[in-house]
Symmetry: C2
Subunit: 390 residues, 2 copies
């Protein structure tokens, strides 16, 4: 454990947290004079008036804006390149991502390409990525309208190369948002099922960061608080979507879990899920994680026993006697959120996919697999997919 | 509590934590080409070789340096102005504070005057300060060799105007250190008595920030972990000074408590102590806090009952049934550190001082007094001094 007392902490993002805070955006110091607003190709940002409110706040602050509204739930490379071209053409000097992780991650990717030129895949490390260093990026403002990714306070993003079927993470200190506005009022419109998927994404950022080899004293603090809050409040938010207090707690837990991603790191579960949703783009990331989770965490229950028990004790506020208590608590939470019945086959996945999933996870996610409590070989990874399929 | 779920988090400092990390300074990206090194007028930075090691690391990184070695335990305005003049004359483009809080706080003050000109007192808010806004500062690197102030990760400093006997805090987001290197190996040379004084300074940053009105969900997380660690490890570090593991834990707790100062704030106890050491410069800040602490915290035990009990439970890892359990735990910790017998009279303070102390605390520290769990009037402040004197 001594070696774990060496670590770095540097999250430069200015985080503004609170219900209603989008309405105060015009009073904040913004990092530019003309914004590219990046939102999804869906209708919710317009239908709920969030885009109008953002544009009105920017106008009030004397900031021009242009909107790019094509991002898909699993964002793709060609949209990043298209958004960056628009950003350059319109002479935008910062990028605002508003929406779920897909919009904010795309804003990050656009900020890289708009500042450095070229094709986005040039900047991706690993897989077929070009490995070009990310030397700079336009300033980024993140306004999440879902509670899950934590991307508003981390240095990561995920984009899929639709030509090669690689869903790849990318990261750089350059893409920490300069400003993050986490306004839980924007989240009450998220339907129960998506609330659960996204909330479990946050939960696994925290839980993986806690059991993984990259954990640090500061990530532990964030991770244990995030898992505690999600165990208590995610079922409330799922079953009572208009409960603002639960939305606030879940939003804060998600941001804390994002801070785990910046001070520890996700592990193999995320690598294995990225492989699945690379081949099955309709599979929501959180649903894939939930479907894998029992099989994944069961694999390591004897490798990180104390951490499993400590995390369970924080979640349940009761003594834990064995690491499998964590699996029980996780199952209970999934039952309370109505997502205990997810199966990989629900999205058309078959046993025939496991080998290519494993190969893809290893090719694109080895850095995360390396942080698992114990190293898994290809056969063991396939075993987890198989176990999760049952 | 709902209102407390609105908050801002922004600590841009890059923190490098770990035993031996001073030896890696040359590998880090430094914020300039020529440093003014600010250290105390004492001998320890030279005697223990810390200054030599710092200069060697800078040379290895190709960074020039000039040393200003006059800072006193309670740093004074005239030294700040003198250091700033040297900084400008030598064309230094960043400032390194190495040592206790006095050296790092002086480095912050020098960075303000060197960048903005004028007299340091122009920039102080309140008291006889000029109230000039702090628009910029040279980049600051903080290398604490004591565990107590937390100034390496906060936006505060404290300097005394020796002409007016005002010990005043100053603060600005401009003076967050760009880089903080917290190397607990540098702390094993601190003698037991000072270890205790400094450790309790950190403890009160956390405890005040936790019970005070400015607390936030993130400061609570930092504060509870800091008080837990200090309750457990400060007595070990005091009684076994070469115990590096205890030094590491105490150093981390002190940095966490500094993060409390950046996300919550100190309260009236600090204002009342600053008044004491303004008139009695030989009184160590931590000793003054310890001498006041039982009387101060007793005053609010019915105003923040739940917080007193929650903090006690984290510290002692046992159920708490009443807020006075905190006073008992505090007394136990002070006994174990050999500082339970401090009296204000030990430094020549008499009952005749109480009125001027109270007036000074109100004049220079009203902003902190305003954050107490309940507002105290002048008579109640005098009562705390009187009770602490008994």
């Amino acid at each position: 454990m001594s070696s774990k007392m060496k670590f770095c902490l540097n999250i430069p993002t200015r985080l503004i947290f609170g219900a209603g805070e989008l309405n105060n955006l015009s009073k904040l110091s913004l990092p530019g004079k003309k914004a590219l607003i990046v939102i999804s190709g869906g209708t919710s940002m317009k239908r709920y008036g969030y885009l109008d409110r953002l544009q009105a706040q920017l106008a009030k602050a004397g900031v021009d804006s242009v909107t790019f509204d094509k991002i898909m739930p699993n964002p793709i490379k060609s949209h990043v390149n298209e958004g960056a071209a628009l950003c350059v053409q319109e002479k935008c000097d910062f990028v605002i991502g508003m929406g779920g992780g897909s919009s904010i991650d795309s804003a990050k990717a656009i900020a890289i390409v708009a500042a450095g030129g070229g094709d986005f895949w040039d900047y991706v490390q690993g897989g077929t990525g070009g490995g070009r260093p990310i030397a700079r990026a336009l300033p980024i403002v993140a306004i999440p309208t879902t509670a899950g990714t934590g991307t508003e306070v981390d240095l990561w993003g995920v984009v899929t190369n639709e030509e090669t079927q690689e869903k790849m993470g990318f990261g750089s200190p350059m893409i920490y948002p300069a400003l993050a506005i986490v306004d839980p009022e924007l989240m009450v419109t998220v339907p129960p099922r998506l609330t659960a998927y996204q909330g479990f994404d946050a939960f696994f950022h925290a839980a993986e960061g806690y059991i993984g080899k990259a954990h640090t004293p500061i990530s532990d603090l964030y991770a244990l608080e995030a898992t505690r809050l999600l165990y208590k409040y995610l079922p409330v938010a799922v079953n009572d979507p208009n409960n603002l207090w639960a939305r606030i707690k879940v939003a804060w837990a998600s941001t804390l879990a994002g801070m785990v991603e910046s001070t520890s790191c996700c592990t193999g579960e995320h690598a294995m899920e990225h492989a699945m949703s690379a081949f099955y783009p309709d599979l929501p990331h959180g649903a894939g994680l939930i479907a894998l989770s029992q099989s994944y965490f069961k694999t390591f229950k004897n490798d990180a026993m104390k951490r499993y028990m400590k995390m369970t004790e924080k979640m349940t506020q009761a003594k834990s006697a064995r690491p499998s208590d964590f699996l029980d608590a996780l199952a209970r939470m999934q039952r309370q959120c109505g997502v205990d019945d997810l199966r990989l086959s629900d999205w058309g996945i078959t046993e025939a996919d496991f080998e290519r999933f494993a190969d893809n996870a290893i090719a694109t996610g080895q850095a995360m697999l390396d942080l698992d409590p114990r190293f898994l070989n290809r056969e063991e990874i396939i075993d987890i997919y198989r176990d999760a399929f049952k």
